[in-house]
């Protein structure tokens, strides 16, 4: 027997109590509600993806459409399926693509790291700010979304270019004598990505930090931790779910980012989104472009699945706690 501290184990919620409402709706009602998003994903995500995948197995040809059919009747008798892996071999054979993939991952990784370093203190500051201004600060974080993404990236050109705001300011206060070459370098891409995706880092971090029980920090200090150590021992480990969510939300779209490297990065910034665009519109090689897209998806599916697995575990844990 548990020494005195026992008490009855928590009762499991009766399974029928939650099911009553859905039973009244009937299985049809519940099925319908679930079917809508499934149908949406099927129509606008899976079907286009299958088409892209199909094209990736075709071969380039001059004509309309600019690729060979996958399935074809030969002599009106045989159904011929012609699957070509040439585009994939090409993809992995050509250093350009491999380099573009790795460079995309690198840029996305470094940007995510900076977004985290920048976003964490901001989220922390908002979560610990006075309740009356907290919503105002959150509003400030999401305010840029009111403006078009494209316009905001263009604005960075105005800031970063040689006679732009930043250089003029730095020269005016006398820190530098000659303008810094930022635009059309990878640094500009980092700045652009970190800027554009920072809210996606801040919001999940904020929501975990805001939920945190402040008495935990007091307990840590009471037991002998200085504030900084209490942060490392308590706040940081407890905000890991927010860190993971924020990093995924920044990393995944950053890998495939096209607009920012195209506008800010200049010609020699190698990112997979740019390569894909060039393949489609400059080379008009649809099969190769499709193969790039499929490969990118496979690259990204792995971290997404890791993330989902992590979330599922967190939820299971939270359920146990509740």
């Amino acid at each position: 027997m548990l020494g005195g501290g026992g008490g009855a184990p928590k009762e499991r919620r009766h399974p029928n109590s939650a099911g009553a409402a859905t039973r009244r709706l009937g299985v049809g009602g519940r099925g319908l509600v679930i079917a809508i998003p499934y149908f949406w994903l099927l129509l606008f995500f899976l079907a286009p993806f299958l088409i892209v995948m199909k094209i990736s197995f075709a071969e380039f040809q001059v004509g309309v459409p600019p690729y060979t059919p996958l399935v074809e009747w030969v002599d009106d008798q045989y159904l011929q399926v012609r699957m070509s892996f040439a585009s994939y071999f090409y993809l992995f054979g050509d250093e350009l693509y491999v380099a573009a993939y790795f460079n995309s991952l690198k840029i996305a990784f470094v940007s995510t790291l900076f977004a985290l370093l920048l976003g964490y203190p901001m989220a922390y500051g908002i979560a610990r700010a006075d309740k009356s201004i907290r919503n105002l600060l959150l509003l400030a974080v999401v305010l840029p979304f009111w403006t078009s993404f494209l316009i905001r990236v263009y604005a960075w050109i105005g800031i970063l270019k040689n006679n732009g705001l930043l250089n003029n300011f730095l020269m005016w206060i006398g820190v530098i004598n000659e303008p810094l070459e930022i635009l059309n370098t990878e640094i500009a891409v980092y700045i652009g990505i970190v800027y554009a995706y920072l809210p996606f880092m801040i919001l999940p971090l904020y929501s975990t930090l805001e939920k945190m029980d402040m008495s935990l920090l007091e307990a840590a200090m009471d037991l002998g931790c200085r504030p900084w150590k209490a942060f490392l021992k308590v706040t940081l480990p407890l905000s890991v779910p927010g860190i993971v969510a924020g990093c995924m939300l920044v990393f995944i779209p950053a890998v495939g980012e096209f607009v920012i490297p195209d506008l800010l990065g200049g010609a020699d910034t190698l990112m997979i989104g740019k390569v894909l665009w060039a393949e489609f519109f400059n080379n008009r090689d649809w099969p190769a472009a499709s193969a790039v897209a499929v490969a990118m998806l496979v690259f990204l599916v792995v971290p997404i699945m890791l993330f989902q697995g992590y979330q599922a575990r967190q939820e299971a844990k939270a359920k146990e706690q509740g």
Partner: protein, 386 residues
Amino acid sequence: MSQQARSLQDQVARTEKGEASDLLKPLIQIEGVTKSFGDFVAVNNVSLTIYQGELFSLLGGSGCGKTTLLRMLAGFETPTSGRILIDGQDMTRVPPYERPVNMMFQSYALFPHMTVEQNVAFGLKQDGLPRDQVRQRVAEMLDLVELGHLGRRKPHELSGGQRQRVALARALAKRPKVLLLDEPLGALDKKLRERTQLELVNIQENLGITFVVVTHDQEEAMTMSTRVAIMNQGRILQVDTPHAMYEYPNTRFVAEFFGSVNIFEGPLLEDEPGHVVIGCPDLSVPIYVGHGISSREGATVYAAVRPEKIALSKEPPADATYNTATGVVEDIVYLGGESTYLVRLDSGRLVRVDLQNQTRSSEPELTWHDRVHVSWEHSNVVVVTS
């Protein structure tokens, strides 16, 4: 209450009067402490001395300042003015991580990402204690609260009572000079609470660590404490042993907060050193009180009589010159061990009387609409002036 606690109470009383040769050393000295938040004064000029080995309760309703006072002892709040000394050292502005006190939080504040063992070891590791000593102390603490077998569980895998024990073990692990407990039993159900009260007292006496407990529960304070301070609106109204607090409340508020009471209001008719007489419009006869008070004749005073100290009978009392009245039984509340009778006096005033149920008879001697006489001994009344 143990005999040990009782003798400590006597020693504290002697020390306070300054008459003993074995004077106790004050462990906590709160000197004129005030804490305001903006315009709101949470703690108002409080002075208090707590001695080594005491189990001291701060009792009061919500918002009375008891938790703020406790948090100032822990170092989470800094007094606006005044001083706090612990073991002779000025702690007023010392941060919580440098104080020789530990706190058990109302919410327990167990670290959810650590096991029970890691929670208990947390403070010891901050002190840089060698590993084997940490392990030994953790095992010791978990044995103390009888949770040795659950060391590897996470807090969310424990019941409320077990969590409470982990919180206690964690707070005691560093062997603080003072343990501060914020509503330590507030989250437990009644049965578990009663058992835990006694266990907490046992642990406290065995370890000899001074406990300062914040509670809103008058019974809890009465069961556990060597001394109690009652707070209201940021001020301390009375500091006393539970017995003295109950039998000799110094204000109307204390009398009403610390147990139930019937208060009779009236002018002071006779003011002698050995007794006073109060005219009371609620009764047909005046109230005779067997002790003197320092007030002037004619002043309005309050006579407080505890419900269990009132006798109820169908026959008139032998001496009907003082302290009696007639009325009708209006309501009876059966509480198992005792029953509460609400008697409507002829003046219209309602009086509460508690009687022991000494037999199992379902037909009590007194029943609804019975005409009864209420009366009490003059030694069972206490006069409060405010």
